[in-house]
């Protein structure tokens, strides 16, 4: 099966007021796969995702989606293309209800949302029970589920997730990872940014390691899990047993 590259970054550079946060990144996300981007705090992972989403303008470099140049496009045009970002820290709308948060996820769609709302509710039954609750009153785990559900409502081809496991109990993290796999099996391509390298590499087809704005290592998820340098830097001692 020939892999089509859904997303391709070419020599992407991003600066904040003269300080370079991303220094020439090349990265490809093949259609239908889960690709993960791991790295320490401040490595530039969020910046990369935010640049793809159109929130930050790159200094130089190109972003291609299905071979169309989408560099510097406004965020609403990026969503229209079929790319969506689950932002770091979930960022659900606290004084909108759960249902409204899902509806706003499908803001650009003109068709009926009911079937997809039901689909999200079957993925996350806990959201269905809380349909009329204000999103701000949900627990952290429920908010993360809502943030993922909200992103699914735009019927994306590519979902980018920024640290979905942040601050969640291991059981919930496992739930979220399972959902990511389920969603991927339904044909949605995933670009996953994670601090929890172990979990991310286990479910990913391919991984990139980002260090202070560069890609230092890349390889299949399984290969990176065995890579000595990656083990030492990101997987901690727990892997030694």
């Amino acid at each position: 099966m020939a892999k089509n590259n859904l997303l391709r970054l070419e020599n992407l550079c991003v600066s904040y007021g003269g300080i370079r946060a991303v220094k020439g990144i090349n990265l490809t996300v093949p259609e239908g796969e889960i690709v993960t981007l791991i790295g320490a705090n401040g490595a530039g992972k969020s910046t990369i995702l935010r640049t793809i989403a159109g929130l930050v303008k790159p200094e130089s470099g190109k972003i291609y989606f299905k071979d169309n140049d989408i560099t510097c496009k406004a965020p609403n045009l990026i969503v229209e293309q079929g790319i969506t970002l689950v932002p770091e820290g979930r960022r659900v709308f606290p004084d909108l209800t759960v249902l409204e948060n899902l509806k706003i996820g499908g803001y650009l769609r003109k068709d009926n949302l009911d079937a997809d709302i039901e689909w999200v509710y079957t993925l996350f039954p806990r959201l269905k029970e809380r349909s009329w609750q204000m999103a701000g009153t949900l627990s952290g785990g429920e908010q993360q589920m809502l943030a993922v559900g909200r992103a699914l409502m735009s019927k994306p081809k590519l979902i980018m997730m920024d640290e979905p496991s942040l601050g969640l109990a291991p059981i919930i993290v496992q739930d979220i990872m399972n959902i990511i796999k389920t969603v991927n099996k339904e044909g949605v391509t995933i670009l996953l940014v994670e601090q929890n390298a172990n979990l991310a590499l286990k479910i990913a087809h391919y991984g990139y390691v980002c260090e202070t704005g560069h890609i230092s290592t890349e390889g299949s998820g399984a290969a990176l899990l065995e890579d000595e340098a990656v083990k030492a830097a990101y997987l901690g001692k727990a892997r030694k047993k």
Binding site: G54, L55, P75, N76, P87, R91, L96, I104, Y107
Partner: protein, 293 residues
């Protein structure tokens, strides 16, 4: 004071308050979405007065009223596009200063174009019709204003809570970035807020000036400040709160005038502001100040 004069004053107060409420909503909505006090809002209200004077000079009121609404909305959106939009990512203080500049610009432009002499506000015949209910008698506009205000607020609440545009406004008011990630166009949504605020200011100006007979380039300053205080009183950012604040200020002002303290009626509003800021800075219905991230 007889019971009849009491009711008469309450009615006048509610009516004045209704006009204040419509203007106060413009302040509160813009603050809700941009965290900006739109100092030019009172002047946009004043310009609506001039638009009416010139429209009624040649056109019947049935055409003049919608025309005034359109012109006022255009002015409100133009101020947003020219004075606020370019400063979207600037510190809030810069936008505030730009707002003060816009306010002075409109006032001075009006002085230059129309002179500082009061211009007579046209009479809209049917609004001036005297109505008797029991022993109370007043012009129709006094009866219409509070009813119209409440209907408009209800319509606005429906728009905000049950339509897609309203949902986008609520999302933008909480989180610019995430709203954009949903595909919402920030600038359009902000413009809609100015459209609504200016439209209500146009309607408010017709109701307000019909009772006041004349317009000057400074007619917007004091009502503008009072309506801003009404918005703070109700809890800035809160639409029903702004309405209640408008009614409270209108009624208090009318009673102060009725009891012969008319010299203090303006000072009273500012004392009220100080009291609110000292004891309940979030206003009557305001939530905890959730500053934007």
């Amino acid at each position: 004071m007889t019971i009849t004069t009491l009711f008469q004053h309450i009615l006048t107060g509610i009516s004045l308050g209704g006009a204040y409420a419509l203007i106060a909503i413009g302040y509160t909505m813009v603050y809700g979405i941009l965290r900006l006090i739109n100092f030019a809002h009172g002047d946009i209200f004043m310009m609506a007065g001039y638009f009416m004077i010139f429209s009624m000079a040649t056109l019947p009121w049935q055409i003049a009223i919608p025309l005034v609404c359109i012109l006022t909305v255009a002015l409100g959106v133009a101020v947003e596009r020219a004075a606020y939009k370019p400063l979207r990512s600037a510190p809030r203080m810069s936008i505030m200063i730009s707002a003060i500049g816009a306010s002075y610009l409109i006032q001075n432009l009006a002085t230059y174009l129309f002179t500082a002499l009061p211009k007579a506000y046209p009479e809209i015949p049917f609004l001036k019709k005297i109505l008797h209910i029991g022993s109370i008698s007043s012009s129709l506009v006094t009866f219409i204003t509070p009813v119209l205000t409440i209907l408009l607020v209800l319509a606005l609440m429906f728009l905000i809570h049950h339509t897609k545009v309203g949902m986008a406004m609520r999302a933008v008011s909480k989180d610019f970035e995430t709203a954009q990630l949903m595909g919402i166009k920030l600038n359009n949504t902000i413009s809609y807020t100015f459209v609504i605020g200016s439209l209500l200011a146009a309607i408010g100006s017709i109701l307000y000036f019909t009772d006041r007979m004349s317009v000057t380039p400074f007619s917007g300053t004091l009502p503008g400040l009072k309506c801003f205080i009404a918005a703070v009183l109700g809890g800035i950012g809160n639409i029903p709160g702004a309405m209640v604040g408008g009614f409270i200020i209108g009624i208090c002002e009318t009673f102060l005038v009725a009891f012969g303290y008319s010299t203090f009626s303006d000072a009273f509003t500012f004392i009220l502001l100080i009291i609110i800021l000292l004891f309940r800075p979030t206003g009557l219905f305001g939530e905890k100040m959730t500053d934007k991230v």
